[in-house]
């Protein structure tokens, strides 16, 4: 089930017609999912979206000032993520092996660990590229063109391209083998 195809939130009992919460839901759920997708792991977007809509529904009549619904919706979503982070920190405080999570909105310790592992693995794969591939990949991802990379490394543009494409393949293989091991 994809996020865009999410059903209306569980507790939704809304009046029909324009201006209703239901029409707001249809008009803004895509944007909320985009916003959440920029802040939580993909597997958590749907649940987070549902939770935020539940909050919107429960506070719409009392807290929405009628001005900019989308801006208000994002405030609700941000508060939700802050609450989730707080909850996670509290839970982690009871756990001797707690770690510093980097995934806002992610309350599942396994997911957080996977998230951390992903970053660590990526860093290790980059490190494993060796010279000059690592330098070329990092320069390209910092926005340099092949010409600049080639000039900095005193190689031809063609060589710079070849190193980048080789590095790309190596990184994908490295990350893929990691994913295969962890799934």
């Amino acid at each position: 089930m994809t996020a865009s195809r999410a059903v209306a939130p569980r507790s939704m009992s809304l009046p029909a017609g324009d201006g209703s919460l239901e029409s707001l839901y249809h008009g803004h759920c895509h944007e909320l999912n985009l916003w959440l997708g920029a802040r939580v792991p993909p597997s958590n977007v749907e649940d987070a979206s549902q939770a935020v809509w539940e909050r919107i529904i429960s506070s719409y009549d009392t807290h929405f000032d009628g001005a900019n619904f989308r801006a208000w919706m994002f405030r609700i979503a941000r508060n939700y993520l802050i609450d989730m982070n707080r909850r996670r920190r509290t839970l982690a405080a009871f756990d001797e092996d707690s770690f510093t999570p980097s995934a806002p909105g992610n309350t599942d310790p396994v997911d957080i660990l996977i998230d951390e592992e992903y970053r660590e693995r990526l860093a290790a794969c980059i490190q494993g590229l060796g010279y000059p591939r690592k330098a070329i990949v990092q320069a390209r991802i910092a926005g340099d063109g092949y010409k600049a990379c080639a000039a900095a490394l005193k190689i031809t543009v063609q060589q710079a391209r070849q190193h980048f494409f080789k590095a790309k393949k190596l990184l994908e293989t490295c990350m893929h083998s990691h994913c295969a091991r962890t799934t």
């Binding site: 996020a3 865009s4 839901y25 916003w35 920029a38 939580v40 970053r119 494409f165 990184l171």
Partner: protein, 300 residues
Amino acid sequence: MLDVLDIPESPTALAAWLDAALMKPGLRSLVDELTVFNGAPDESLQAEHARRWLGDDAEQVLRKGFAALAPSKVRELLSRPSLLPAVQELVLVDGGPYWQKLRQHPGATTSSPSGTKRRYLLIFAPIAVAASVSTAMLLDALATRRIDDSGHANRNVQMRGDGPATTRPAEATPWVLSRRGILDDSQNPAEVSGRLADAIQEWRAVTDPLGDDFDALRTRLGELWAGCEQLRTNNLQKLPPASREAIIAAVAQLQACVQKQLEELSREEPAATKRQTTATVKRAIDDFVREAVTTLRQAQ
């Protein structure tokens, strides 16, 4: 797998690529990857931080996207990727028709395909982009099961699961999906170049209905550019070296022409002359496409 490795080289294409990334699902992955690659700081930024960072350019970016920024400022987004979600929030709230259009693009649904669907994407994406169909559109098609298990597209289906039943506009129909297998494991250069020529030739069918829509043409050009880049770099490994080089040279030439025209389109100009520029660029690309198709047909 790693979106960040598809980063375009030209500043113009980079700006368009980042615009599209902001309006696609899963921006977080790109932010994570940029953070790791560039050793960037982890920051939690909001729309107001983005507005402050954009300064006097904010209104222009809200109207036109990152193309309104100086290239050095666009590059700053790569070294400080936490700004991306903040800018995303800003444009989701205050962005103009340009951003709305990107969001309403058929591919811009908040869905992510399963691993199996992703594999389909790896096969289809190069074909799609070569022929100017957004890979995001394919992503959407895959995620919403518009492609059945045999890889065939089901046309005219509902775009959004919960929204009103809508069909794709005619020009956005995933026409290219019928060309499945264009770049699969074929070792036959004639077959590959013929299929590729067919796919590229459909540029006219995709862009003719756009009329003088400046932004739509720019988007399609960006996709064509990205498709050429992908073709040049990722595929055709099974072909004999000489054939591969000939095909890639044709694609590279087309890409260079596309890049030049993209730069034309990114120049600041009054609205009055935009229509003329659009028509000129369209004509030029039509010619380049014709040339590329001829070259590929000769290579058969």
